[in-house]
Amino acid sequence: MAVTKRIIPCIDVDLDEDGNPAVYTGVNFEDLKHTGDPVEMARQYNEAGADEFVFLDITASAEGRETMLHVVEQVADEVFIPLTVGGGIRTREDIKETLRAGADKVSINTAAIENPDLVDAGAAAFGSQCIVISVDARRRYDEQGEHYEQVDGESCWFECTIKGGREGTGVDVVEWAREVESRGAGELFVNSIDADGTKEGYDIPLTRAVCDSVSTPVIASSGCGGPEDTREVFADADADAALAASIFHFDEYTIREVKEYLDDRGIPVRL
């Protein structure tokens, strides 16, 4: 008897041409494809046994934020599992507004890198349990990092990027994870720019490096192509939760299929 490994579908919320909320799925943070209505999708995932939801506002606009809050209200009113909301959350007021709409946690990325005090302020005001720090990591093979991993015989470090992976920051992901933990983050959400959209599996060295460095729970993200990838990230990297988008959006696998696969292989899940 122990805390179970979580399977979390991610729902990227954008606006369609009429300004209504719509779900999109991308490949390498670009080339987005429209795949449905976010509230309806949340209902279906809840039925299928999702452990939580992550909603990301990928518009990063005022209209996007407002639409997202409305989506969160609708989902929170009928689906009784935890909701994390990310994208464009920059201030203490944004956090408060999002929680009041019915979110349980907020995911903060760029704003935390630019203003780390936001992590402390958010944790002090609302509790660590609702402050999730999201990192978009990419591998670098130069000598400017602080923490190196051996990957396929080469030595690399992981850099925090911002703006959907388009801009580097020079910040080492492992050092950053330790810092935000000490500032009060309650969970870490680790995306991989290299693995995103590939469906070739999570970035195991990245996820393991972060899990080994902090005691807060870690959500692994990017690269999931099927049930075996989730097994690997739980068994080999010690992730607490695995996030996936496209395999569920395009009905390649149901959440229940993934959880049954894990259960059969001795990974504790909630069925």
Binding site: M1, A2, V3, T4, R6, N46, D51, E73, A76, D77, E78, F80, I81, P82, K96, L99, R100, A101, G102, A103, D104, A125, F126, G127, S128, Q129, C130, G186, E187, S215, T216, P217, D240, A241, D263, P268, V269, R270, L271
Partner: protein
């Protein structure tokens, strides 16, 4: 101050004590789904007329108790009258006498509500902290709050029903009999506690975030509150 109109055939009138920030929406909607008419209130004068009182809670023990300070007397009166009082997460921890969490901040003791004697202590180093996620419930003794919740005695590693937890501290009641259900995170800890006469109780997990299992518990709470 009311956020929602009572449903036409509410089974019980429940107040949620609004003493802080955060997400009260899910608890409100969950209780409404369970058949309650819910009033979110920061006025202790609203307690006496209610069929039950919910102490929600996210955040830190010290802040929680400071914010709940103005309600201490009204809550004690409610308990003396035998009104059901239900603490959720931090709200459950506040039902006890004290918390190590307040000591850790180096700011001296903060006294809890002391309806269920005991203290709250932090999970040992080496565990993932916070304990966050779905964990299995093991029902240790009968209490109306857990009626219909399957315990973990059916065999297998994850056969019991699951609830959603987020916390770094756990309750240690002085009296083992106060423990209604347990869960496990490196050690066994109380997931549901109740006082001697069963009118004051709490869950360490969030029933409003625990899917069908959570809704069962919220329905049980509404049943406990329903006037005969």
């Amino acid at each position: 101050m009311s956020l929602s109109e009572p449903p036409s055939e509410a089974l019980a009138d429940v107040v949620i004590v609004d003493y802080g920030l955060g997400n009260l929406r899910s608890a409100t909607r969950g209780l409404e789904r369970a058949g309650a008419a819910v009033t979110i209130t920061d006025d202790p004068d609203d307690f006496a007329a209610a069929d039950g009182i919910v102490l929600p809670g996210v955040g830190a023990f010290r802040e929680g108790m400071e914010n709940a300070g103005p309600y201490r007397e009204a809550l004690a009166d409610a308990v003396a009258r035998g009104q059901p009082v239900f603490g959720i997460c931090l709200g459950m921890q506040m039902l006890l006498t004290s918390s190590e969490e307040a000591d850790h901040a180096g700011e001296g003791d903060v006294v809890g509500l002391d309806f269920i004697p005991g203290r709250n202590v932090r999970f040992a180093e080496g565990q993932k902290i916070p304990h966050m996620g779905w964990n299995e419930l093991s029902v240790e003794r009968p209490h109306p709050l857990v009626t219909g919740v399957e315990g973990s005695d059916r065999g297998g590693s994850v056969d019991g029903e699951h609830a959603y937890f987020v916390h770094s501290y756990y309750a240690v009641p002085d009296d083992d009999e106060a423990v209604v259900a347990t869960s496990d995170h490196g050690r066994t800890f109380p997931a549901v506690i109740a006082n001697d006469d069963g009118t004051v109780f709490g869950t360490q997990f969030h029933p409003e975030k625990s899917g069908e299992t959570g809704l069962t518990i919220l329905r049980n709470f509404v049943d406990i509150c329903s006037p005969p």
